[in-house]
C-alpha cells in the first residue's frame, strides 16, 4: 500500500556529532616528501641562477629568502590542514570535510555514485597510501577525492561503496 507519512524536519539525521575518521598518519610525511622533491628542483634552479652575472647578490638573496619562507610555510602547513580533513561513512552517504581557513563539508549519496576509483602515486606507495575518488554525474572533475588513505582502508572503502551503490541501483 502506498504511504506518505509526514517527515518531521527536526528528526532528519544531522551532522552535528559525527565521528570523523582521520587520514593515515603517514600522509603528512608523504606530502612533505613530495614537496621536498619539488623544492629541490627549484633550489637547483636558483643555485644555477646565482651564476648568471647580471643578477646581483642582493637580488639572488631576495629570491632565496622568498623561496625559503614559502617552502617553510608549505612544509608546516600539513600539520594544520591534515587533522582538519576527515570522512564519515553513513548508511546512505559518505561525508568529507576539509579546509583550515575556508572550510567545506561535502556529502555524496551512495545512490548517485557512478563509479569509484583508487589510485596511488609512487610517493603514496612508498608510504602505503592510496587515493579514493568517487564519481557522480555532477561535474567533470573527480567529484570527491580523498587523498592519504591507507592502502587497506581505500580498498575497503571502495568495496563498501561499490556494494552500497550497486544495492541502491537494484532496489530502485
Amino acid at each position: 500500500m502506498f504511504q506518505n507519512p509526514e517527515i518531521a524536519l527536526d528528526s532528519l539525521p544531522g551532522m552535528q556529532d559525527l565521528d570523523w575518521h582521520k587520514l593515515h598518519p603517514n600522509y603528512a610525511s608523504s606530502m612533505r616528501l613530495q614537496l621536498l622533491v619539488v623544492f629541490l628542483g627549484i633550489g637547483v634552479a636558483l643555485a644555477a641562477l646565482s651564476f648568471v652575472p647580471d643578477i646581483s647578490p642582493r637580488e639572488a638573496g631576495g629570491f632565496w629568502a622568498l623561496f625559503l619562507t614559502g617552502a617553510a610555510v608549505l612544509l608546516i602547513w600539513p600539520t594544520f590542514s591534515i587533522p582538519r580533513r576527515g570522512y564519515v561513512l553513513r548508511d546512505r552517504d559518505i561525508v568529507f570535510r576539509s579546509g583550515v581557513i575556508w572550510r567545506s563539508i561535502t556529502a555524496v549519496p551512495f545512490n548517485r555514485i557512478q563509479h569509484v576509483e583508487t589510485s596511488s602515486t609512487p610517493f603514496d606507495r612508498r608510504y602505503g597510501l592510496a587515493t579514493l575518488q568517487l564519481f557522480t554525474a555532477g561535474g567533470s572533475s573527480g567529484d570527491l577525492k580523498i587523498d592519504g588513505l591507507g592502502n587497506d582502508t581505500a580498498e575497503q572503502l571502495r568495496a563498501f561503496i561499490l556494494d552500497k551503490a550497486g544495492a541502491t541501483v537494484e532496489s530502485a
Binding site: L12, G14, M15, W102, S104, A107, P109, R112, G138, A172
Partner: protein
C-alpha cells in the same frame, strides 16, 4: 507509417552529399589554418599570375571537397537493429557507431530548404553520456524519422513504469509571431558583441568626423560657412544610429532564420519544439530528463518584460552542449510559470520562477562586504600604491572604483534570493539582468556547505548543489538553514527510488 526495416545495411539518400559537404566545409572553417596551408603552399609554388592561381586553387578546393563528400556518402551506411541503430562511416578511418535505443534521450531533426522540398530530414541522436559519439543520419525520409521516434518512444514506455500523467492534448503550448522575432533579435547578446568588435572601426569614423569638423570650423573662420560643430555632431549621430539600426536588422534577421514559426508542444512526456525559416530545426527533450530550469532576462529583455527559458539535461562534457539545452527564446513570466507547472507536474512546479514573485527569501547582506573588500578596495589600494609615484594625488581617483563596486554589490544582493518547497528550490540572482534557476531536490548529485572565516564568525554558509547539468550555489545563508537544507536534500535523494536521469 512503415516501421524501419531491420537487418539490411542501407545508404541514405544521395542528397546526403549536401550534408557531408556542409560538414567538410565546417571542419575546414574550424581548422582554417591547418587545412588551407597546403593549398596556400601550392599557390605560392605554382608559377603564374594571381588570377589563374586563384582559379586553380578554387578548382582544386572544389574538386577535393566534392570528392570527399561523395566518398563520405558512399561509405556511410546504417542498419536499424532490434535494440540499436548501427552506423558505419569513414573513408580512410572506418568508424562504427552502435547507438542503443535505451540510451537515446531524444531525436532531433533538421531540415534545410532543399530537404524540405524533397521531404528529407537530418536526424541527430541525443544520447546520454559519451560525448563525441553522437550520431547523425543525414537525408532520411520524414516518415522514417517519425517511425524511429515512435519506436524509441514505445521502447521507453515499455521498459519504464512511469506513473501515467494525463497531459494536455497536443496543442501548441506556445507559438511565436513576428513581434517575438523582433524581441529575440533586439535582446540578442551577440549583437552587442558585434558592436564591441565594430567599435574600433567606429572610432575611425569618429576621427574622420573630427577632421570634417575642424575643416568646417576653419572655413567658418573664413566666414564662408556659418554651421560647423553642430553638423559634425549630426554626422556622428547619424552614423551611430544607422550602425545600431543595421545591427538590429541583422540580429532580427538571425532570429527569424532560427525561430520563424516557432512552436512548442508536449508529445506525451516529451517536450518538442520546431522552428526556423530556411532550415527547420526540431528539438525534443524528455520531461523526466530535465535537471534545471532557467529563466533569464537581460537589460533589453527587462524592458520587453520577457524572459528566455532553458531546460538543461545531464551533460557528459562541454561537447555538444547546445543539443542538451532546450531553449524557449522568449516567454512572459506568467507563461513560464504555467509551462514549468506542466513540465514538472505532478511532482513539483508550484513555486514561481518569476524574479518579481514575493516568495523569495533574501540572502545575508554580509555578502556585500567581501565583494567590496576584495573586488573593490583591495585592487584600488594596490593601484594607488603602485601608481602613486607616476600619477601623484590623481591616483586617488581609483577610490571611485570601490564605490562603483559597492553599488554593484548592493544591486546583486538585492537580486539574490531563494525559495523552496518540499520538492524543489529556486535561486534568484543577477546584476544587470535577472536569472532564476530551479531544480528538484531528488535530482541532486551531491551537496557541499562551505564557510569562509568571516562567514564562520557571522554563522553564515554557502550551499552548493551539484546537478548533472552543473551546480547551483546559494551564498550567504544562515549556517543552520544551510545544514537543514542539506540534510533535507540528502533525505530526499537517499529515499528516492525514481531515476534522476
Amino acid at each position: 507509417m512503415k516501421a524501419p526495416e531491420t537487418g539490411a545495411w542501407r545508404r541514405t539518400s544521395p542528397f546526403a552529399i549536401l550534408f557531408f559537404m556542409a560538414r567538410i566545409l565546417r571542419l575546414i572553417a574550424r581548422n582554417a589554418w591547418q587545412s588551407l596551408a597546403p593549398l596556400f603552399a601550392l599557390l605560392v609554388a605554382y608559377q603564374g599570375d594571381l588570377v589563374s592561381k586563384l582559379k586553380l586553387g578554387g578548382v582544386i578546393f572544389a574538386v577535393a571537397t566534392t570528392t570527399l563528400a561523395l566518398l563520405s556518402y558512399w561509405f556511410f551506411r546504417y542498419r536499424v537493429g532490434d535494440r540499436s541503430i548501427l552506423i558505419r562511416q569513414g573513408v580512410i578511418k572506418k568508424k562504427q557507431l552502435d547507438i542503443q535505443f535505451d540510451r537515446i534521450q531524444g531525436i532531433n531533426t533538421q531540415q534545410n530548404p532543399v530537404y524540405r522540398l524533397l521531404g528529407l530530414v537530418t536526424v541527430s541522436f541525443d544520447t546520454a553520456g559519451s560525448a563525441g559519439s553522437e550520431g547523425n543520419l543525414p537525408a532520411v525520409s520524414h516518415a522514417f524519422a517519425g517511425s524511429l521516434r515512435a519506436r524509441i518512444g514505445n521502447r521507453r514506455a515499455a521498459t519504464s513504469d512511469d506513473t501515467a500523467v494525463d497531459y494536455a492534448a497536443p496543442d501548441a503550448l506556445l507559438r511565436l509571431d513576428w513581434r517575438d522575432m523582433v524581441r529575440i533579435g533586439l535582446a540578442d547578446r551577440r549583437a552587442l558583441i558585434l558592436f564591441a568588435v565594430l567599435g574600433p572601426l567606429f572610432e575611425r569614423l569618429g576621427d574622420n568626423a573630427d577632421e570634417v569638423i575642424t575643416n568646417y570650423v576653419e572655413r567658418a573662420a573664413d566666414g564662408a560657412f556659418q554651421f560647423g560643430v553642430a553638423s559634425g555632431v549630426l554626422i556622428v549621430a547619424a552614423a551611430l544610429s544607422s550602425l545600431i539600426l543595421l545591427l538590429a536588422v541583422i540580429s532580427i534577421a538571425a532570429a527569424l532564420l532560427r525561430y520563424h514559426r516557432f512552436e512548442l508542444w508536449l508529445d506525451g512526456s516529451t517536450l518538442r519544439s520546431r522552428g526556423g525559416l530556411l532550415t527547420r530545426h526540431e528539438h525534443a527533450m524528455d520531461l523526466s530528463k530535465i535537471q534545471t530550469l532557467r529563466l533569464e532576462q537581460g537589460i533589453v529583455q527587462r524592458l520587453q518584460k520577457r524572459f528566455r527559458m532553458t531546460a538543461r539535461q545531464a551533460m557528459a562534457s562541454g561537447k555538444n552542449r547546445r543539443q542538451k539545452i532546450f531553449t524557449i527564446p522568449v516567454v512572459t513570466a506568467e507563461r513560464a510559470d504555467h509551462l514549468r507547472l506542466l513540465f514538472l507536474q505532478p511532482e513539483a512546479g508550484r513555486l514561481s520562477q518569476d524574479p518579481a514573485a514575493g516568495t523569495f527569501m533574501p540572502v545575508s547582506p554580509c555578502i556585500m562586504r567581501s565583494r567590496v573588500l576584495y573586488l573593490g578596495l583591495l585592487p584600488a589600494l594596490l593601484c594607488i600604491i603602485g601608481l602613486w609615484m607616476s600619477l601623484g594625488p590623481s591616483s586617488l581617483l581609483f577610490l571611485l572604483w570601490p564605490v562603483a563596486v559597492a553599488a554593484g554589490a548592493y544591486r546583486s544582493w538585492k537580486r539574490a534570493g531563494y525559495a523552496y518547497d518540499d520538492d524543489e528550490i529556486v535561486r534568484r540572482s543577477g546584476w544587470l539582468g535577472h536569472r532564476t534557476v530551479s531544480l528538484l531536490f531528488r535530482k541532486v548529485q551531491r551537496v557541499t556547505i562551505s564557510q569562509s572565516p568571516y562567514q564562520r564568525r557571522k554563522r553564515l554558509a554557502s550551499l552548493r548543489m551539484y546537478m548533472a547539468s552543473g551546480s547551483v550555489r546559494i551564498p550567504y545563508i544562515k549556517h543552520a538553514t544551510a545544514e537543514r537544507l542539506r540534510d533535507y536534500i540528502l533525505y530526499k535523494v537517499e529515499s528516492s527510488h525514481r531515476p534522476w536521469y
